[in-house]
Symmetry: none
Subunit: 197 residues, 2 copies
DNA sequence: CAAACGGTTCGACGGCGGTCGAAGTGTTCC
DNA sequence: GGAACACTTCGACCGCCGTCGAACCGTTTG
């Protein structure tokens, strides 16, 4: 649906969230009204657009936030340099302001063990100043499993850095586990020794 | 790129984050190796996949988080019922075998409060028989925030149903909070009274 | 070295689908 | 009522691109 140039042009034209009529969209896409009509019909059927018929004109707009999110997500692909160093990032890296990679998902799983007292043991304090959700999760793209984000995720990474468990690498998202960190991850968080290779 | 069925099949096959060789991907997509080769070439050029040549085999995997995000975002489009019955499902429903909706994300947030003892209080036992991940999360499509899934999510919903907190509605994913459940959600899980309207 | 195998290139075929002209329906406005 | 207009349907055309057979290259294995 979004792959076809004319349809893509129409959807992109609607990315501002406003609505337009069919003729305007035909112009945006550089096709005749008949062609546009066929495309718009398909876009409606596949729930990408919705329309509201006002009089003899029909006004089209994006069907919802999911559409806008998907279009934005697609436009992110292929930017940036090739990840020759991908492997290095796989074990531990930061994802915005929280921990990701094998270590990230492992820590997250530990947090979910019934009876764990990790957040208290580390004396993690969550600043409740913001409207930020306490907890979010990203699906880790290397692990395809969730790691903790949100306020809790940020607080954890902050702790690991200030307490010298993890060190950052300049100009990179890579994180390095210090010897001290390695010992503490195992002893305090119950992480398997083996994941450190 | 992602619109073509064979390529989509290959990319979906790689959505678990692991890597596969060209022949395996050809099989997944149901095409011959020549055809797969052509597709893989294009997917590499457009930075959707990366490959690592080990010996005479080449191992392909997703190029990065953006790709996984985009694919997931695309899969969200057009899901869900039309707005008429949507409202009813919004508050509480089951998502496969776990709890979703406003109540689902709220419970999930409670689980992440530092110092909570919810899983022990409820005497939740996680069967560790399976290879099933202890914890997964779905992004709730109505709430746009994560709710707990995986073994923990399933155990929780099972508990809520067997203990009479929630009642199922036949032929529907809808879940109804019983008066008993309502009281317990507030007292035991610390859910805000107000979300029950 | 020969055989097997993974991956690639080339060329030919065929179908799906985007395109537009022409014509049809319904609405608005004078 | 009639003209202008927004949108749709139909039909025919045509080009792009996915497909596979055959042949080719390079690595691995015995």
């Amino acid at each position: 649906m979004l792959a076809e140039p004319s349809r893509a042009a129409m959807v992109l034209a609607l990315m501002d969230g406003r609505s337009r009529n069919a003729k305007k969209l035909a112009l945006d896409a550089g096709v005749t009204p008949q062609t546009a009509s066929a495309h718009l019909k398909k876009l409606l059927r596949s729930r990408i657009l919705v329309c509201e018929g006002r009089g003899r004109s029909k006004y089209f707009s994006l069907a919802g936030a999911e559409v806008a999110l998907a279009v934005e997500a697609l436009s992110e692909i292929g930017r940036g340099p090739l990840p020759a160093a991908a492997r290095e990032l796989r074990f531990a890296r930061c994802c915005y302001d929280h921990l990701a990679g094998q270590l990230g998902v492992t820590v997250t799983e530990q947090l979910f063990r019934p009876g764990n007292t990790i957040l208290e043991d580390l004396k993690i304090r969550i600043p409740d100043t913001s409207r930020r959700p306490l907890f979010r999760c990203c699906t880790d793209w290397t692990e395809r499993r969730p790691h903790v984000a949100g306020a809790v995720g940020a607080a954890l990474l902050r702790h690991f850095k200030t307490e010298g468990w993890l060190a950052t690498v300049r100009e990179s998202r890579k994180l390095v586990v210090t010897p001290r960190g390695r010992e503490l991850f195992v002893r305090v968080l119950g992480v398997e020794e083996t994941i450190f290779r």
